[in-house]
Symmetry: none
DNA sequence: GATGAATGAGGATTCATTCAT
DNA sequence: TATGAATGAATCCTCATTCAT
């Protein structure tokens, strides 16, 4: 969504703009993010900014797309084809997401802020990208597990996917806010616990609840 | 967080202010909510507003506290002492929350928007209230279940509470957005499905994952 | 189209705003007129301006309405009921318009600039007022003259009204620009000439053209 | 008013610039016309534009001159020497102008917008050209008619010329705006009516006004 | 205690023109 | 000569807060 002009810029300058924008959106959110602050941080002229992007919204959409793409990169990288069991798959996907968050803190903040945009008109224009790294991450894998007879027949795939996506968001937020957590490795037990919980349930076998 | 002046006001006037504020915060969110619009809707003078509240933030905190208190009312009302099983407890608590949302749509919106404030400085000042109707809703009950030997020993209570709180938020959002849902009763199957999932797990017994 | 706030202002302040606005619109036209300049000239704060008027357009519409009303005042004042002949009526109406222009130069400039707004969306919202001091000034009088048998049957009332309205605009512009003309009295011969021309025609009787 | 560079350009490129400029000035007016849009439409570089013209004003003056020249072409073409009567001459000249408008809608819009520029400093620099296709169109012919004794002695040539010029503008505007009018031929009755009116007057012979 | 006008820094966006390559 | 990125003052407008009455 940037203009051609933006792509003709030297990479270094483009990076300054992107970096400043990411910082603004991550720390202030879309509507409080200030174009004035972005151009100041990126050391470009106000007018230049509007030669790179039609408006603030265009920039935002570009950054969000970039963030979601980056998130997907981490997920694709994990080469899910080799992962057989559902439990292991879910562990891996959450680890991938946390690694994304670890290495791209501000992009992760932006991604995790997306659900808050859902009521706005901007969201609709982002929905396609968002879906790819949202619910759709889980639905196909759950369907496969159903076919393989590995999932209880009474489980509703739709709700389960929601729960899993939601959990991944929550896990990421947990990571982003928890100041004591330094590496994605520290999160592995948390992930295992939560995914284990979803897979096996809270309830002790044999007990009635 | 209002001034004494506010509490000396006739109840009817106070209600006008509260109602207008709830509407603004629910529909626009904190930062986009307009003081000008609130005083207009409440039919009070701009200057009066600043005699009732030090600033917009004070009003927001007051409304949030009110919303959380109201939510708690619904939860307390359900008289959990009589509820024995954990599953049934979780179903009931989610139904209570949905009933709160059903009868106080705008307050529910404000409550469910709270996690988005987490990065802001305002959140810290609200944390205490938030906790009461958040995580702390689940932790004591989970501890009890542990003592009763009803929960797998490897389950981490802390994370389980997070997952349950998160699920309750997600269920509420689902209710608030789903236009086809008219009554909290329509949500009961959804709740049962999701809670069932958390209690029993996704995995089919006997299968390896 | 101003807000109540504007009308609550002391007359002196209101006049400062109106005067500054008239000056801007008259000298720059609608789109080049600067709100910043207006508030500067009127010695009010930018924010105050937007408490008086919703936007620049509202102010413009207010000023245009004011200008057209003022123009009408001069026309109504001439007490057309006592004016019998069409020629005399047309002379008088043009004199009234020139007197309006003489005593309200900038308002007259704004009024005479209106036809240029015709292609804009603003015009539509002003049309009603404009019509009253435009074509409709002439049509009823021409109809009356037709009934009295004083007008050639082949004359199309519609076109004649247009020609007369157009001539009045032209006469006013002539007055506004002609630097040598100091008083409306200097314009009387011009008016008589032009109206005489429209009434009697250019052509010498008996000559073939 | 373009630079030599402009005239050294291949004709095709020059035309692209001219066409884009005409479109802008016709549809937006001088001050709203966008240089950025012109260079975009003409597919030339911003910098190139300023090598062809010193500034926006220079381009405008060039286009206006072009428009007035084109208008004159249509008028000259009608070979007025062969036209004898004043009435017929006026009919023909108005038809010529309408034909110009019909075949050069955007140029006609620019020409008819000129009077609105009269208050601006730009106008002065265009005045010479404007006059040639304005008042001066009528004055010589009126003088001739006076010499031939075909015009009432009390008619002031100067004012009559103004009225006629003004009427031609009005007729053209009428043509440009009237959506039901497809061809200049549809305008002939209107022209005959208005010119007839000016030649013979509104007043019925024998009646007193 | 009530009122509502005043404030001004800040918001996003536009645009003719310049200048380095 | 052609290019297109850079510029920055100017545009309209918003809004929480203050203050005089």
């Amino acid at each position: 969504m940037p203009t051609d002009t933006f792509f003709n810029l030297p990479k270094e300058k483009r990076n300054r703009v992107v970096k400043a924008a990411i910082y603004q959106f991550a720390s202030k959110g879309y509507s409080k993010a200030s174009v004035t602050q972005i151009v100041h941080d990126a050391q470009i002229a106000k007018g230049s900014f509007y030669q790179y992007f039609n408006d603030k919204k265009s920039l935002y959409k570009y950054i969000v797309k970039m963030a979601l793409d980056k998130k997907l990169e981490y997920i694709i990288e994990m080469d899910s084809s080799k992962i057989d069991g559902l439990y292991y798959f879910l562990i891996q996907i959450n680890i991938a997401i946390i690694r994304f968050a670890e290495e791209n803190i501000n992009l992760a903040r932006i991604v995790n802020d997306l659900p808050n945009m859902e009521q706005t008109y901007i969201y609709e224009e982002l929905e396609i990208y968002h879906k790819k790294s949202g619910l759709n991450l889980f639905i196909p894998r759950l369907k496969k597990a159903v076919q393989e007879g590995k999932i209880k027949p009474e489980v509703n795939i739709h709700y389960a996917a929601h729960l899993l996506y939601n959990s991944s968001l929550f896990i990421t937020n947990y990571f982003l806010e928890e100041k004591g957590v330094n590496s994605h490795k520290d999160m592995i037990p948390v992930i295992e616990n939560i995914i284990g919980l979803i897979i096996l349930g809270i309830k002790k076998d044999g007990g009635e609840s």
